[in-house]
C-alpha cells in the first residue's frame, strides 16, 4: 500500500513532478509490479488550429471535486485489483505546455493498472466538477463538453447520473 499519510487526491495551482509522485505511490512496496500513469497537458489549439489558445482558466467546485474523485478511486479499488491510486488536478490559470492532470495507479501486474488508470480518467472527464475557459484571439470561451467523453465512460458500464434529464448535450 502507498504511505498511509499520502493524500489520494490533490487539487492545486502548483505544478507536480511525476517521478516524485510515482515514488510515493510505490512506497518501496515489493509487491508493486506495475505503475501506470497518465498526464494531461494544456494544448495551444482547438480544432487543430495552432496557437489559438494563449491561456486557460480552470474553475472547480471546492469540496465536491475532492469528494467525487475520492469516490472514483474507491470505485476503481473495488473494480480492479490495484494497490493504490493518486490523482492530481491543477486549477487556476494555466498556459499551453503546462501539465494539468495526473492519474497514477499501482498494481501487481500491468493489466489492472492500465485499466484502472483509463477508468479513472474517463470517470474524471465526465463526473469531476471542473470547467475550462480558454483565452483565444476572439475572446474567452467556456469549453464545451464532448459527447465522446460520455461514451468513454459508458464503455465501463456506467451511465451518467443525470443526462436523461438534461438533454441536449
Amino acid at each position: 500500500m502507498p504511505a498511509r499519510d499520502m493524500p489520494r487526491v490533490s487539487i492545486q495551482t502548483a505544478d507536480f513532478d511525476l517521478s516524485t509522485e510515482v515514488a510515493a505511490l510505490r512506497a518501496q512496496d515489493p509487491r508493486v509490479g506495475a505503475v501506470c500513469s497518465f498526464i494531461g497537458i494544456v494544448r495551444d489549439r482547438t480544432a487543430g488550429e495552432p496557437g489559438q489558445i494563449s491561456s486557460m482558466e480552470l474553475e472547480h467546485y471546492p469540496g465536491m471535486t475532492e469528494k467525487s474523485i475520492e469516490a472514483m478511486i474507491d470505485a476503481a479499488q473495488q473494480r480492479f485489483d490495484i494497490f493504490g491510486a493518486r490523482v492530481i488536478h491543477r486549477v487556476g490559470l494555466l498556459a499551453p505546455l503546462d501539465q494539468i492532470v495526473m492519474v497514477a495507479v499501482s498494481s501487481a501486474h500491468r493489466g489492472e493498472s492500465f485499466q484502472a488508470c483509463e477508468f479513472l480518467m474517463d470517470y474524471l472527464k465526465t463526473q469531476a466538477p471542473f470547467w475550462k475557459k480558454e483565452q483565444t484571439p476572439s475572446g474567452a470561451h467556456w469549453v464545451d463538453a464532448r459527447v465522446s467523453d460520455d461514451a468513454a465512460l459508458a464503455k465501463w458500464g456506467i451511465a451518467l447520473e443525470n443526462t436523461s434529464f438534461n438533454a441536449p448535450d
Binding site: 469528494k67 492532470v101 474524471l124 466538477p129 471542473f130 470547467w131 475550462k132 438533454a167
Partner: protein
C-alpha cells in the same frame, strides 16, 4: 426550508452570483430549478429547459427527482470539462 444554491462556470457568470440563499417550499431539485427559472432574467436564460445543466445535491451529482432537505447545498452547472 432554507437552501444554499451554488452556480459555476458559464452559469455563474450569466447569473452574476457564485452562491445565493433561498427559502423554498418545493421538494425536488427539478422544482427548485423551475422556481429559479420563474425569477426571469439571467436565471431563466441560463437554467432554461432544454439547456445542458447538471445538478448536484450536497456535493453529489444527482437527478432532478432528488429531494431537498433543510440546509441543503444545491449546485447548478454546465457539463464538466476537466482533465
Amino acid at each position: 426550508m432554507k437552501v444554499t444554491v451554488k452556480y459555476f462556470a458559464s452559469i455563474r457568470e450569466a447569473i452574476g452570483l457564485a452562491s445565493e440563499q433561498r427559502d423554498t417550499q418545493v421538494i425536488t431539485l427539478g422544482a427548485l430549478r423551475d422556481e429559479l427559472i420563474a425569477l426571469g432574467g439571467a436565471h431563466a436564460d441560463s437554467l432554461a429547459r432544454g439547456k445542458a445543466v447538471r445538478l448536484a445535491l450536497n456535493q453529489v451529482m444527482c437527478q432532478e427527482s432528488a429531494e431537498l432537505g433543510e440546509g441543503a447545498e444545491v449546485a447548478f452547472f454546465p457539463p464538466v470539462t476537466g482533465g
